[in-house]
């Protein structure tokens, strides 16, 4: 199962304010732990929205706008992709993610869809039975 840890933007990340040494160390240490455990798949910081642009569809029209974008809360500043055996394991790993912000900060974690070719109803029934027996 793959999960994306989405690092939300802040006014500071939008201003490209570099983090403190402590912040970098915490982030590097955490990702090193992910790497050593074999669960880190991918990750990157994103440049501020001033470097980006949008395409928006509305009322049958498509419009283009350049960044920066005002609604900081809706912006993404980075992502980390991890591979875990279970949702619970992913929860535990993401719980250890360091605060990406100077004071206020937020991460959001989302599960990826997978090209799962074991989608037969039989397998799903078996999986449900297994989940019940483990609890």
């Amino acid at each position: 199962m793959r999960f994306m840890i989405i690092v939300k933007a802040t006014k500071d990340s939008e201003a490209a304010k570099p983090g403190t040494d402590e912040m970098f160390k915490a982030m590097a240490d955490y990702h090193e732990e992910l790497q050593k455990a074999g669960v880190l798949m991918d990750g990157s910081g994103l440049k501020p929205s001033s470097f980006g642009w949008r395409f928006t569809w509305k009322d049958g029209k498509k419009t283009q706008t350049d960044g920066p974008f005002a609604e900081t809360k809706e912006l993404v500043a980075g992502f980390t992709l991890i591979q875990c055996k279970t949702r619970e394991e992913a929860f535990e790993w993401t719980k250890r993610f360091p605060n990406p912000g100077f004071d206020a900060g937020e991460i959001e974690v989302r599960e990826l869809y997978s090209l799962d070719d074991f989608d037969s109803p039989q397998v799903e029934r078996f999986r449900k039975m297994e989940m019940k027996s483990q609890s």
């Binding site: 591979q83 055996k85 949702r87 619970e88 535990e92």
Partner: protein, 420 residues
Amino acid sequence: MATDPHRAIAAAFNIERPKLIASLTRITRDVGLAEELAQDAFETALQEWRESGVPAKPGAWLMLTAKRKALDAHRRKRMASQKYDELGRELREEENTAPDFDTALDDDIGDDLLRLIFTACHPVLNPEARVALTLRLLGGLTTEEIARAFIVPEPTIAQRIVRAKRTIADANLPYEVPHGEELSERLAAVLEVIYLIFNEGYAATSGENWMRPALCEEALRLGRVLAELAPDEPEVHGLVALMEIQMSRFAARTDANGEVILLLDQNRARWDRLLIRRGLAAIDRAHEACAKLSCLPGSYLLQAELAACHARANKAEETDWAKIVGIYGALAKLSPSPVIELNRAVALGMLMGPQAGLEIVDALAKEPSLKNYYLLPAVRGDLLAKLDRKDEARSEFERAAAMTQNERERAVMLRRSATV
């Protein structure tokens, strides 16, 4: 996310478990005891964390708890005073110094884990035992999960693991990471175990057994862990690269009925590009490690290069067959075998036309080790079909069908015979 507290605690524990067992093995020099102590720590965690929740540093908490239990166990068993003192001292040191648990853990963890991996994969154990023990100690699979993955009764696996631990205890193995020539041999044994696990998961019957992809993922994860612990070993990166790229094709390998789709016929849109990218990066790391050691690419790296040739081609028609032929040549130099020669024949046939491939296959006709190898007539049939020698092709496919025990393989051969 609403979490069942038991499962949350179990998840936190599973993340820490291999490191716990590794460190406890260093302390007690007894893998079986280490596993028990880790389990005891888990039981304690279940009780205490249920109220307070999983602590911020679960690894440190579990390690301290397990070490205290180890000390108690020693007191009860009246172990050799030296070990008792050593353990007692270690525990007092931890309690007296500032609680910087992370440092206390990290210093030895890498070495401890490496030693545990080498122990679980020790050649004194047979391959089945190594696989079961590795999955149990390092993979965090339950005995039941291992049993289900290998389609073997659970008590069989449980016994296998018990016996394996006893064999290790009786063998009185020196507790150290091997060096020099011994390291190469022992590393080969470790890589063999990891790849065995991967292949078990990758086998064509995966459609029926949903534990199988989990095995592949676990093998891949173990390979990545080992690559971090032994970054200077080219074949470790080679194996990781091979597994990443093979795994990239997992979703494309079988159709809706669970039938295997041959690589050249696969829908490449279903290939996982992230895994391909990671595999190619691992190949680069392997070559860097080779350069540092001034050594030639080993078997896993060469196989990874083969897989990479296919991965780089967006369509089957764009495959760099010349490069593939070259790699088979290198593989043949490294460890000559009729099977490699047969594969080279296929590649040469793709590069220079079926007649070129057929010449090599015909030279292999009398090869004793290929007597019951169904792929020999299968490949010959394929080349003959391309040369429009239909009757001969048909009889080769029928011969291949008769040679294989596997129902699916037989069906494929019969189908090929019918559609020549």
